[in-house]
């Protein structure tokens, strides 16, 4: 654990100490080294559930895939940001990379911690670097509004979480995940119990986001620069999912009255946000709403609390993280060339950029949950476990899958095929860096197809 945490922390002074010309290569190679070392966490535990542990941090099979994803995404973020920061003075570039590394440290600590209060602190700590990235390096004026929405939506949810955790600490005496499993589960059906569970879950529901509380997400994703969008879509949403899984696994049982409104909102949200995607003019907004749609499935699955559901949730979280990040990178290649996010502005791009068209195709296919991708494995497991929960959910999940395929194909066909826009006089060609970025996204997705047991969590 320490051999990954210390190089990441030491990257912070490295940024200031390296030569300005070597800033990008240095940070890139360093973070790739960290990502390579982080692959050791895939090692499944032989005896106990938790491996690589010390007093405060440990890895188990639920947190390992998310940790490796966040370590993998940091070099990808650095790679993706090189173009839009090219004109900035060196101190601002250093600040940007500093913020990214700070975000990665807090994410690593959040996913690997055993204390729930530490998880809460790291959960909040990820907000600040992300807010800085969105409001300082976003491109439109609306980024201030977006940052405000992002910050305050999450903070409103996390105050009840803090109170609930502290009350739990008062009762039990500890908030360590390992110790709380020895605690007797409280089988109350009172309103207090329901309110306490609501307080525990609401922060993660806002973060995921759940359909009714999702208003911050399109704003934040659209206004953030590419690195902000990538880390938001790929990892920060999954913080919420990870929180729900941890808390429901450790603090059984979830009150039954509470699962209904969240489940209904999540499933109805899958259909609603999918339909909204069909009406979007903004490409990044379309991808943002598709994130809400996929995460709705994850929320619905984690609330059923069965083994298959947790497996499907973790699988879909990893798969969606990689796919959504790749889609945002692709949208960014369009944005850097036309300086507009309008979907209709850059059509028939396949004629101009054939290889990028391949990446668009692969990203759209994985987004649609095409077999045999891990997206399909996650979605199918979730749909099956929801069917077990109640047979009627198949209506909503089936319709949701159909709508997902529709808007993904709409996005693909509008950007790749169609009438060549005559008002685009000159488009710069694609960089090798961009192709490398896409390849590094699709490579884990393809490799995980071969061995999906790595991301199936503890119930495999």
């Amino acid at each position: 654990m320490l051999k990954i945490l210390l190089p990441t922390i030491m990257l912070l002074p490295t940024i200031t100490l390296c030569k300005p010309k070597q800033l990008w290569p240095t940070t890139l190679i360093n973070s790739f080294g960290v990502a390579l070392l982080s692959l050791q966490w895939f090692n499944p535990p032989q005896e106990l559930t938790m491996t690589f542990s010390n007093y405060y941090l440990s890895i188990d099979q639920i947190s390992a895939p998310l940790l490796i994803l966040s370590c993998w995404l940091t070099p990808l973020m650095i790679l993706a940001s090189q173009n839009h920061l090219i004109m900035e003075p060196i101190s601002r570039k250093q600040t940007f990379i500093f913020t990214i590394i700070l975000l990665q440290i807090s994410l690593m600590l959040a996913f690997s911690t055993t204390e729930l209060i530490m998880f809460f602190i790291m959960f909040e700590a990820t907000l600040i670097p992300t807010l800085v990235i969105i409001t300082r390096w976003g491109n439109q004026m609306e980024r201030l509004n977006a940052g405000t929405y992002f910050l305050f939506y999450t903070l409103i949810g996390s105050l009840p979480l803090l109170i609930a955790l502290l009350s739990l600490q008062n009762q039990i005496g500890t908030l360590s995940i390992c110790m709380m499993q020895l605690n007797q589960p409280t089988m109350l059906s009172t309103w207090t119990h329901t309110t306490w569970w609501f307080a525990l879950l609401i922060a993660f529901m806002i973060k995921m986001p759940l359909y009714g509380l999702h208003l911050w997400l399109p704003k934040a994703h659209v206004e953030a620069p590419i690195a902000g969008s990538m880390i938001l879509a790929a990892v920060l949403l999954k913080l919420g999912g990870y929180g729900i899984i941890r808390i429901t696994l450790t603090l059984n049982p979830l009150s039954k009255t509470l699962s209904y409104p969240f489940m209904v909102l999540a499933l109805w949200g899958v259909i609603m946000t999918g339909s909204i995607c069909l009406r979007q003019t903004d490409l990044k907004s379309l991808i943002a709403y598709s994130s809400v749609s996929h995460m709705g499935l994850v929320i619905a699955a984690t609330l059923t609390q069965t083994q298959w559901a947790h497996t499907g949730a973790i699988t879909l979280m990893i798969a969606h993280g990689l796919t959504s990040s790749m889609l945002f990178c692709l949208a960014n290649t369009n944005y850097e060339r036309t300086h507009s996010r309008t979907l209709l502005l850059a059509r028939n791009m396949q004629l101009l950029f054939p290889l990028m068209g391949l990446w668009w195709l692969l990203a759209s296919l994985t987004n649609m949950a095409l077999p045999p991708t891990i997206n399909l494995m996650g979605e199918l497991t979730i749909i099956t476990s929801l069917f077990n929960w109640s047979n009627i959910t198949i209506l909503m999940t089936g319709l949701g899958t159909l709508i997902t395929a529709t808007y993904t194909l709409y996005m693909l066909s509008t950007t790749q095929w169609g009438e060549m826009p005559s008002y685009i006089k000159m488009i710069p060609p694609t960089h090798t860096r961009e192709h490398l970025l896409m390849m590094l996204h699709i490579l884990p997705t393809t490799l995980l197809m071969m061995k999906p047991e790595l991301i199936w969590g503890t119930f495999y």
């Binding site: 209904y260 502005l345 109640s390 006089k425």
Partner: protein, 135 residues
């Protein structure tokens, strides 16, 4: 439409679903001067726009993209200008409640009823398990 030259020969008629070209419409040749004036003004506007576009297209110094102000206005109207023009009226409140609140409560009721029915069947022992999982 043109009159037939003789009643026994084939008389030309336009295709039933296609619009008649302007040159074949006899009314075109009897236009009033005001209409001619209006047509000339519209032609001048179109020509000015085409000239503007051609200047931007062939300008060697300008950038890579010709901005379409209509598209910019359209995207702005569709993304950022919706809520400033929103006013809560009885109709919009009703629509919001119908599309926002009613489905939530409808599906809540449906799921609760379905699961309660299954729970009752299980507790009475009448629920046939579809798969045998413990052998």
């Amino acid at each position: 439409m043109v009159e037939p030259s003789s009643s026994s020969t084939f008389s030309y008629r336009g295709a039933p679903l296609a619009s008649l070209p302007r040159e074949l419409d006899p009314a075109e040749y009897n236009e009033s001067p005001e209409k001619r004036q209006a047509q000339a003004e519209r032609l001048a506007v179109r020509a000015r726009l085409k000239r503007q576009y051609q200047l931007q297209l062939n300008n060697p110094h300008s950038s890579e993209l010709i901005e379409d102000p209509a598209m910019l206005r359209w995207t702005y109207a569709r993304t950022y200008n919706i809520y400033p023009n929103f006013r809560p009226t009885p109709k919009t409140s009703l629509l919001g409640a119908l599309s926002g609140l009613v489905p939530i409560f409808f599906w809540w009721y449906v799921f609760k009823a379905d699961r309660d029915r299954k729970e009752k069947l299980i507790q009475e022992g009448k629920y046939k398990r579809p798969f045998v999982l413990n052998s």
